[in-house]
């Protein structure tokens, strides 16, 4: 069994303590005790575990239980023996069966021939299956289930998403109510505005055109950039996702990200007529995408 994280164990213990009205520490100790190999040694030395002891010590009247719960008596018996054999605890005494003291000391696998006749299935120690093959772990998709701290999507996530949708809708609505989308004069093939700029998300590339040959700036740099971006997962072999152990990857990405942002801002606000350098605060802004704000 996978090791449960401490905080999950603690939460489960708290919930159980609340339900059963017992102290948290006691339940926590009990849960931790179960996952350790302690019970095996405890039953071997003859001292039954506290939980199992309360069961096996009492006298069970299977006839009464059978009528009370409407379960056939032989099923109750089988369940009792199976439980005893699985836990390695003594079989509880039955009303009208052997003396309680005798069965309480005997461990289940060695319970004697009288019990073996009652318990269905193969005798202890006999394996009814055989090993055909061993399948190596590790599939294409991660299918191992680690115990994870999870919450219900409804209401926790859907409520957040709904608020995010409303906020975005409200923001867009108010923006659109006060700011009109630009519509300049009718398209005129004979009159090129100065400067002519691409949409803002291409202005980083247009800025590169001012430094390099068009083939380099317009095709080769963005082409290689895009390819590099797509191949990140296959180049970055570092399995960690912790920022402290990915300093190089994060630095490199941040340099390129900031570079692209600076080029785009530069192309948007610091380029004027003839795509020459301007200071936006003294020469004016030549950026038609934001015409409505600037006017």
């Amino acid at each position: 069994m996978a090791q449960l994280p401490d905080h999950l164990l603690k939460r489960a213990a708290e919930a159980r303590a609340k339900a059963e009205g017992r102290p948290v520490d006691e339940i926590l100790a009990e849960m931790k005790g179960e996952s350790s190999p302690a019970p095996a040694t405890a039953s071997a030395s003859g001292a039954p575990a506290p939980d199992a002891g309360s069961n096996s010590g009492s006298l069970r009247d299977l006839d009464a239980e059978s009528t009370q719960y409407g379960i056939p008596k032989e099923l109750l018996e089988r369940a009792m023996f199976a439980r005893a054999r699985k836990d390695g605890t003594p079989v509880p005494a039955m009303a009208g069966a052997a003396a309680p003291a005798a069965s309480a000391t005997a461990a289940a696998p060695a319970a004697g021939p009288a019990l073996a006749a009652v318990v269905s299935g193969p005798p202890p120690g006999v394996r009814t299956q055989r090993l055909l093959t061993v399948v190596q772990a590790g599939a294409i998709q991660g299918t191992t289930k680690e115990p994870a701290d999870k919450v219900n999507v409804w209401p926790h996530l859907l409520a957040i998403e709904f608020v995010a949708l409303l906020a975005m809708s409200a923001f867009l609505f108010i923006l659109s109510a006060f700011m009109d989308a630009p519509l300049l004069e009718f398209a005129n093939f004979n009159e090129q505005p100065n400067p002519s700029k691409a949409p803002w998300y291409f202005l980083g590339l247009q800025e590169l055109l001012a430094y390099f040959d068009p083939q380099v700036a317009g095709v080769i740099i963005p082409g290689f950039g895009l390819a590099a971006l797509a191949f990140i997962p296959y180049v970055d072999r570092n399995p960690s996702v912790r920022p402290s152990s990915r300093k190089f990857a994060i630095s490199l990405f941040t340099v390129f990200f900031m570079g692209a942002a600076v080029l785009t801002i530069f192309g948007s606000f610091f380029r004027g007529p003839g795509f020459n350098f301007v200071f936006p605060w003294s020469d004016g802004i030549f950026f038609d995408d934001l015409l409505a704000i600037l006017e």
């Binding site: 919450v151 957040i160 093939f189 002519s196 990140i232 997962p233």
Partner: protein, 258 residues
């Protein structure tokens, strides 16, 4: 239901009518068991699961997600907002299609008429345009968020590539829409943009020809980009979005924790 004075109050009558409607066969046939819209809804773990499983939209989500994943500071809702903006752009775009002809010079005059003759025409056009700009931003920021969380690492490598394709398609959708107003801004921004594509090594001329449907931008380009913008690219991006969302689930849900 009667008050002390023997009259039925409006409030109790409304409550009775509400109960009657919510218990009717029509209502219960629309809202499946476990829906919060049903009269018998109660907050239980079973019903919380049903709410997600029995709704076609919510069903994009699993029933449960990792606790750290719903923190606003983890995702900043960027992927979800990109998807929402896509839906918003589809709705406003369909509205605009009713009033727009992709020919010259009608396209430009239709946009002018939108501002003066159509109820809420200018508002919807503004929402479409600003929403498109914001979507480019949110998609881009979503990508950087995913990088900084290392969420592209195995087993999510392929979904990162699907994301890059979605970013490209978003840019193309925005760029094809840029020409449609058929004004000076549209014409010359697209001229500058497509001139860059013409510098593609070896087959630059062919790329440019296919892109603008001729040697230079004409009214034919307008029709071509209109079809790309309203049908072709939304069709392609929807397929890739479906793959993207499906792979998020198949690759183990939200990434992390860090």
């Amino acid at each position: 239901m009667a008050d002390g004075n023997g009259k039925t109050s409006v409030k109790s009558a409304a409550a009775g009518l509400g109960d009657h409607i919510r218990n009717s066969e029509v209502w219960t046939s629309i809202f499946r068991p476990g829906s919060p819209m049903r009269a018998d809804y109660s907050d239980s773990p079973r019903n919380r699961a049903y709410v997600v499983m029995n709704n076609v939209l919510y069903h994009l989500h699993p029933v449960k997600v990792k606790r750290h994943g719903i923190k606003l500071s983890y995702t900043l809702c960027l992927g979800g907002l990109s998807f929402f903006l896509f839906i918003l752009l589809t709705v406003t775009g369909i509205f605009l299609m009713f009033y727009y002809r992709p020919t010259s010079p009608q396209a430009y005059f239709d946009l002018q008429a939108l501002a003066t003759d159509v109820a809420f025409g200018q508002l919807v056009r503004n929402m479409h345009r600003w929403g498109a700009h914001i979507m480019v931003l949110t998609v881009f920021l979503h990508m950087t968020r995913v990088f900084y969380h290392g969420s592209y690492k195995p087993p999510r490598e392929f979904n990162w590539i699907v994301g890059i394709i979605l970013l490209l398609l978003t840019l193309l959708l925005s760029f094809t829409g840029y020409l449609l107003p058929w004004d000076q801004l549209a014409l010359w921004a697209v001229t500058v943009g497509t001139n860059m594509a013409a510098y593609t090594p070896v087959f630059g001329a062919q790329v440019s020809f296919a892109l603008i449907g001729g040697i230079q931008i004409t009214a034919d380009t307008l029709l071509r980009w209109y079809v790309l913008h309203v049908l072709f690219l939304p069709f392609i991006i929807t397929i890739f979005m479906a793959v993207h969302f499906w792979r998020v689930r198949k690759d183990g849900g939200i990434s992390g924790p860090l």
